[in-house]
Structures are given as C-alpha cells and as structure tokens.
Amino acid sequence: MMLQVKNMNVYYGSIYAVKDVSFHVEEGETVTLIGANGAGKSTILKTISGLLRSKTGSISFAGEEISNTPSHAIVKRGLAQVPEGRRVFLQMSVQENLEMGHYTQPGGTMDERITEVYQRFPRLKERYKQHAGTLSGGEQQMLAMGRALMSRPRLLMLDEPSMGLAPLLVEQIFEIIKELHAGGTTVLLVEQNANMALTVADRGYVLETGKIVLADSAKALLENDAVRKAYLGG
C-alpha cells in the first residue's frame, strides 16, 4: 500500500471542507479523485502534503504515519506534489526551478535527474535559461511536473494539471501521465476534467461537498449513469 488515508476531517476556520474521507492508493496504481470545484479535492492533497492538518484519522505513506510530519520531511520521504495553478517560481529560471525540485536529494544526483527531465520535456531544455514567468501555460505545467519528478517520487500527486490549458495541451499532459504510469510511478490525480482523468486512471473516487460518494474502477465510473450525468456531460 503506497498511501492510505483514513477518516480525514479538515476545517478552514469554521468551514468543514473535508468530511471523513478515507481512500487508498496501491503501489504502481493511478488513482483519481474527481469532483466539482469546491468538493475538497485540493484540500485533501494539501493535507497529505502536510500544508494543512486533519483533525482526526491517519495518513500512512509507504507504511509510515505522516499525519504529523512537517511538510519538508514528507517530500524527503518520496511524496511530491504538483500544486494547483502550477506555482512554478516565476522569477527563477527553468533550470533553477528544477534544482528546487531536487532540494531534498543528495547533490551528486542532480545533473542526471535534470537530463532525465529534459529528455521527457525537450521543450524545457530549449528554454532552460529563461525565467519561468516567460513560459506559456502548457510549458509551465510541464515545468511543474518536471520539478516534482526531480525528487524521483514514489508517489506523485497532481492537482488539476489540465486547468486553464487548451485541449491539445491537455491531451499532451495526460499522455505524459500515462507514460509515467507505464514507467511504474504511482500517481494520485485530482481533476475536474473527469473524462480525461478516468481514461488514464485505474480507479477513481467521486467527491461531493467534502465527502466521497462513489468509489469504483475507472472503467465502471465512466459507464456509471450518475457519474455521466454529473461530470461527463450526459
């Protein structure tokens, strides 16, 4: 078991954002959390990464409890997140952004990892000296993913990677997620674009106003009438 979340309850002040959520991700799986805006998807990822805290329950990552571990130590254990809105460092160069992704790793491995990321995203190599702020949205998304891959994570969490991208770029990004999956990376994917997410995932969970209302294989969810109506446009 790569990740097991049990009874997560998260509040923003008096707002009850995540209500008793439990789910798990097996090693090598791609699992997606789908749901509308405000369903609590990003909150769940932030809580797993240690930026927010759950009032109750447990989060175990590769068999170790991390619900009280500080966020910087969680990254070191092999859990990387590509945050919502990409959040690349706009004033830093493409290469420096990648270096930041390598922050917790032993120094000797950096050049090799950068070469790997450039192989996967040749576009980034062309622009390695440019400030990330000068990149297009799609390139920034690639940079955010490349930056997360720099730590060679055991679990990669992606928060709305398709947000704000043109359809062609969305397909490219999902193609990369498929490649990562095929290469053995465990992926937890949060998406509003349920259709795309369910085509790349093995299993999915449907979230509504902070609660998991449905859990099934991605295939079954794609064919589920209620899911089709609510998230796949009929």
Binding site: L51, A73, Q81, R87, L90, M100, Y103, T104
Partner: protein
C-alpha cells in the same frame, strides 16, 4: 577637485546605507516584515566593536569578526524569540513587535552604557591618513568603506544567485507554499535570511562607527530610517534595488550638505519617501504588484 572629494564622501555614505538597506529589503522580501529593529542591530554592533577594541584589546580584524558575528547572533535570537511565534499572525502584529524590539534594544543599551556618547577609536580599526590617486586625496577610511561594501554585496549576490541556500531564499520569498512542497524547511531559510541581513548590518556598523565615531543608544534610529527609505526607493524586496537606493541616498546627502542645508537632511529623505509612494510605490527595481487570482 571639490566635486571628486564630495563624490567619494557620497559613495562612502551610500555604501553604508546600501549595506543596511539590504537587510531591510531581504527580510521584507521573505516575511513581508519591515524590521524596524534592524537599525538598532547596528547600534549594538557599534558597542560590540567599541568594547572589543578598547576593553578587550582585540586586534582590528578579530574585533571586526566579533562584531559581525555578534550582530548575526543577536538577529537570530530576536527572530526566534520575537518573530517566529508570530509566523501566522497578521503582518501588523509583526510590525508592532519589531518596533517593540527596537525600543527594547535602545533601552537596554541606555541601561548598560548610559545615554552619553562613547567616542569610538576609529583609527584602532582602520588606518588614518590618505592615499593619492590620480592627484586626488582619498582617505583610507573612505576607500576601505567602499571596497568592503562592494565586496560584501558581491558576496551576497553570489550567495543569492548561485548557491542552493540562496536559491531557496528566492523560492521562499516568491512562493512560500510552493517552496514547502519542494521540501524546503521554510523556517530555517527565514532565520538564515535574518542572519545574512544582520551580518551585512554588522559590516555597516563597523564602517558607520568609523565615519561617525560617537556611539550612543540612539544612533541606529536615523541610520535605520534612512536605509529604510533607500530600500523603498530601490524597491523593497529587491537586492539590486537596495544597493542602488543606498547610493542614491548617500549621494543626495552630499548634495544637501553642499547646498548648506544639512539640518534639512532628514526632511529631504522623508520627502523622497513620500514622492516614491506617490509616483512609483514599487520603487526603482520593484516589480509591479500583481493581484493573484
């Protein structure tokens, strides 16, 4: 002749303002705090240098190192005791705490050393006399001040641009949350930033004490405020901005003195502050403030 001499004095003062302004700007860049206790760190540095030279009879280089380390240690202690507990408090609480720390440092200094000025043995630290360069006489103190400041600023630029720690400082200053997701221990980086700013202030304290060899509990106040204006003028949060702002204020001071208006200097400095806020609130090198959606 007079012009060149005045220019050198302006660069000398500007170097000191730039060193102090850097501390304001770096700390603001990373925690959005106007650290009004920064000027008082320089005052403490002045006393450390004074007693290191006179009471402890340290050689000048050792006294200088002790002063810089002393300022750094003081800033780290202040950061841990006063600012770290307020990490998630409103920025205004932090600002008021900084003013409180400033008053505390001044009062402790007054209690320990009285409000009377102690004369600083400038020539125990830097050699007296002057050097003739191309027909112009340049005092050693001016030359060393300018060179030491430039060297400190070059070192800072290398630190921030090239080293892993410096890059992490830039990452935290741009987006703390994203930096945390990279595994950066944000609190360590913030403490380190305070330490670097205070080390530069320590260098500033040494050079300022040589220039104005009278140490009093209040010397940090106006120096700090002028350097703060320099940081705002350059664009608060910007490292090259703080350097430029420092030199502009230093050269301006010479002009004001040359116009026989030296008692108006503080008025002129605050006029600049008002003008910056009116005309270009982001300063010379500052980035326009983008509203994040």
């Amino acid at each position: 002749m007079i012009f060149v001499n005045q220019l050198i004095i302006g660069l000398q003062m500007g170097s000191i303002y730039a060193l102090v302004a850097l501390g304001y700007s770096m700390v603001y860049g990373i925690v959005k705090l106007l650290n009004f206790a920064h000027g008082d760190i320089i005052m403490v540095g002045g006393y450390i240098a004074l007693f290191a030279l006179t009471s402890a009879h340290m050689p000048p280089v050792v006294a200088a190192v002790v002063t810089v380390l002393g300022c750094t240690a003081l800033a780290v202690v202040i950061e841990k005791l006063a600012y770290t507990p307020l990490r998630s408090a409103p920025r205004l609480s932090l600002l008021i705490t900084a003013i409180g720390v400033s008053i505390l440092l001044q009062n402790v200094a007054q209690l320990l050393f009285t409000a009377d000025g102690h004369s600083f043995p400038a020539h125990m630290l830097l050699p007296a006399g002057s050097l003739t360069i191309g027909g112009f006489q340049v005092a050693y103190t001016a030359l060393i001040t300018i060179l030491a400041s430039v060297a400190s600023m070059v070192a800072l630029t290398i630190l921030v641009q090239k080293t892993k720690l410096g890059k992490a400082m830039r990452a935290v200053s741009e987006d703390t949350g994203a930096a945390q997701l990279m595994g950066i221990h944000v609190n360590h980086i913030i403490t380190f930033t305070f330490a670097v700013g205070a080390a530069l202030a320590g260098v500033g304290a040494l050079l300022y004490s040589v220039q104005f060899p009278l140490i009093m509990p209040t010397i940090g106040v106006m120096l700090g405020l002028r350097a703060f204006v320099a940081a705002v003028l350059g664009g608060i949060g910007s490292i090259p901005g703080a350097m430029i702002g420092g030199y502009v204020i230093g050269l301006l001071e010479v002009l004001v003195v040359a116009a026989n208006l030296s008692s108006w200097m503080d008025g002129v400095v605050f006029l600049i502050l008002i003008l910056v806020f009116m005309v270009r609130p982001t300063g010379i090198m500052g980035r326009p403030m983008l509203e994040k959606v």
